[in-house]
């Protein structure tokens, strides 16, 4: 291996690359580490200065996240019977008693329903549309594709007011269906374009062989095209989910009592019983998990890359 090898980078550039990657990793992960560690701190620890790197972990934040509490007078508190259960005990330690569950669980479920619902719908519609655009003679195909893409040329929030008025008229405001439709509408252009690229790569010969082998076009699509488009579907699904999961502006505007998702809810925790940063951090930590798990589950498909075809070119 000579110093001038074309394919082998030099030691210096390897070190520089490693340094850059490490730096990038630290910068990206630091906020996450901060949030996750804060979620396990006590209230005073979370705002101590200088920040505590080593601390006694507690799940106070998580208890506070899932409950509503009151702070009775000290004499009242001492008069109470001993706490029942771990949650009550942790609340009591902070000088509070639990009065009921918070709405976080409900909001989190709303996020799950709306996020995954709109992702599934975007993928189903996107795959079918992309297949049609890829395989059939669609009149005005190029114009239609451009039109679909053009829906992404402005920030979605630019149409917030028309959508707000429309949703109010249609009774879709603050409903799960309304939010699923809205996020699907935003995601579908990305889904169609991404998936069309992936399906274009799958040679038609496979479907033709399946048609002759006794399958209908739809069956051929399901048995031959879909398995080979898995990589594209997985990556598109992750993009769609990330958008729908993190979306904040429309969620604030269009949801309140019923279909509110987690992003607009988490900041409201701050107001309950002072600035409860550990509870906010606990909410943010739990909020991270579904997308992370989803991505890890689909990682296999992402890494597999484009399949090597068995079609002779």
């Amino acid at each position: 291996m000579s110093a001038y090898s074309v394919t082998e980078p030099s030691k210096t550039s390897k070190w520089a690359a490693a340094l850059l990657v490490t730096l990038y990793t630290v910068i990206t992960l630091l906020p996450l580490v901060w949030i996750i560690s804060t979620s396990f701190k006590t209230g005073p620890d979370s705002i101590s200065y200088p920040p505590k790197v080593f601390f006694d972990p507690t799940v106070e934040g998580y208890v506070n996240l899932f409950t509503t509490r009151t702070r009775p007078a000290v004499s009242e508190l001492e008069a109470l019977p001993p706490p029942e259960g771990l949650m009550e005990e942790i609340a009591r330690r902070q000088g509070t008693i639990i009065t009921g569950p918070s709405r976080f669980g409900e909001r989190f479920m709303n996020s799950v329903i709306i996020g995954f619902g709109s992702t599934a719908l975007s993928i189903i519609l996107g795959t079918l549309a992309a297949y049609a655009f890829s395989r059939f003679k669609v009149p005005l195909k190029d114009d239609l594709l451009f039109f679909i893409l053009s829906t992404r040329m402005m920030p979605p929030i630019a149409v917030a007011i028309p959508i707000y008025l429309m949703y109010r008229e249609l009774g879709l405001s603050d409903t799960h269906l309304g939010m699923i439709l809205l996020y699907t509408a935003v995601n579908i252009s990305l889904a169609v374009w991404l998936l069309k690229g992936f399906i274009d790569e799958i040679p038609r010969e496979y479907e033709e062989a399946a048609l002759i082998d006794g399958y209908t076009r739809f069956q051929a699509f399901r048995k031959v095209v879909l398995p080979q488009a898995a990589t594209g579907i997985a990556s598109t699904a992750i993009f769609c989910l990330i958008f729908a999961w993190n979306e904040y502006a429309f969620a604030v505007l269009l949801t309140s009592g019923n279909a509110q998702t987690a992003p607009p809810f988490i900041p409201t925790i701050i107001g309950v019983g002072g600035q409860d940063w550990p509870a906010v951090a606990a909410g943010a930590t739990l909020f991270l998990l579904p997308v992370m798990i989803f991505t890890i589950l689909l990682r296999k498909h992402l890494l597999r890359g484009i399949t090597f075809g068995a079609v002779r070119k």
Binding site: P203, E205, L211, I212, D213, T307, G309, A310, R312
Partner: protein, 335 residues
């Protein structure tokens, strides 16, 4: 097994006329080979019969019924593509079972397993059954793709140069195997090839296509011995037919422009002097490259010939083929 009839079939792709007014009957149980250079319309013919493309005009009938409105699945045909098109996400076993699991056939799994094992045996791939289709060599892929047709018992087998990427030994074996299947099952085949041996040994009928037109249809012997044009004559014959100006030899008919000489049309021992340019020993035969005045021609001689380059032979035509200025055959006067 069924008779397949093409009547006045035409198909264009943009400005390219892929097929023009092709009429042909593939009798039930026949083995029809289509010959022609690239772009002659061979693959288009297969695709129209299979239902992958719709003709611009004309009709395709299978067993007497028009199938133009039928989907490929309803037509009950099997096709081996020139590109193997194995399903890359399936194992070899599942590739072979794929047609049998289709809603059209829906064979019980036990029977499928038996059928797949039989075909794998014939194609000598039983040890590859659990491999992914993508983990095969080119020749193995082609065998699996032939196998995917052979597991079925369709009304017609359509094959697009199925043996083209196999080595010589396997090609010879599979040729015999296909012929055996044709014979045992009385199956109907429409088979595209460039290979003369495949055409001559397997075909009951040969169709020659030229720019989308069917120029001659007949038995391999007819096509070989009685070609209607220089084009057809050039399709078959190893070595290639020698085409010389008619005046190269005496006795040409009045309107003849070209004389066609296959090796068996060249009588050695009398006639005009020709110089040996090159001697090619091919093992089972020896080719002589001759020059006759300004013209060169190739003929055959016995394998162990002692002839050397530079020597002179006397040759004369023996029952040659005569063609007019357009390359069409004209009746031969006997010489």
């Amino acid at each position: 097994m069924a008779e397949v009839t093409l009547s006045h079939l035409s198909k264009s792709f943009g400005a390219t006329k892929a097929l023009q007014d092709v009429t042909m009957t593939i009798p039930s149980g026949a083995f029809v080979v289509l010959l022609g250079p690239t772009g002659a319309g061979k693959t288009t013919t297969l695709r129209l019969i299979a239902g992958l493309d719709k003709p611009d005009s004309g009709d395709v009938r299978i067993a007497g019924t028009s199938v133009l409105q039928d989907t490929p699945a309803q037509r009950d045909v099997a096709m081996v593509f020139q590109q193997y098109s194995l399903y890359p996400h399936l194992t070899v076993r599942d590739n072979l079972a794929f047609p049998l699991r289709s809603p059209m056939i829906a064979m019980p799994e036990a029977q499928i397993a038996r059928r797949v094992a039989e075909v794998a045996e014939v194609l000598r791939i039983p040890h590859k059954l659990d491999n992914k289709a993508t983990a095969l060599s080119g020749g193995e892929m082609q065998r699996v793709s032939i196998g995917r047709a052979l597991v079925r018992n369709p009304r017609i087998y359509l094959m697009d140069e199925p043996l083209s990427s196999l080595d010589a030994k396997l090609r010879a074996d599979l040729r015999i195997e296909l012929k055996r299947i044709h014979h045992d099952l009385a199956a109907t085949f429409l088979y595209v090839t460039h290979d003369q041996i495949e055409a001559m040994t397997m075909a009951t009928h040969v169709g020659v296509l030229d720019h989308g037109k069917l120029v001659q249809f007949g038995t391999p012997r007819e096509i070989y011995e009685n070609p209607v044009s220089t084009y057809v004559a050039s399709r078959l014959g190893q070595p290639h037919i020698n085409l010389l100006p008619a005046q190269a030899f005496p006795g040409a008919p009045a309107n003849a422009a070209q004389i066609g000489l296959r090796p068996e049309h060249i009588h050695v021992g009398e006639g005009q002097p020709a110089t040996i340019q090159r001697v090619e020993h091919l093992g089972d035969q020896t080719r002589l490259h001759l020059s006759l005045g300004p013209h060169s021609l190739i003929t055959l001689t016995e394998p162990h010939t002692l002839l050397k380059p530079g020597q002179t032979l006397n040759i004369r035509p023996q029952n040659p083929l005569w063609f007019d200025a357009q390359g069409n055959r004209i009746p031969s006067p006997r010489i």
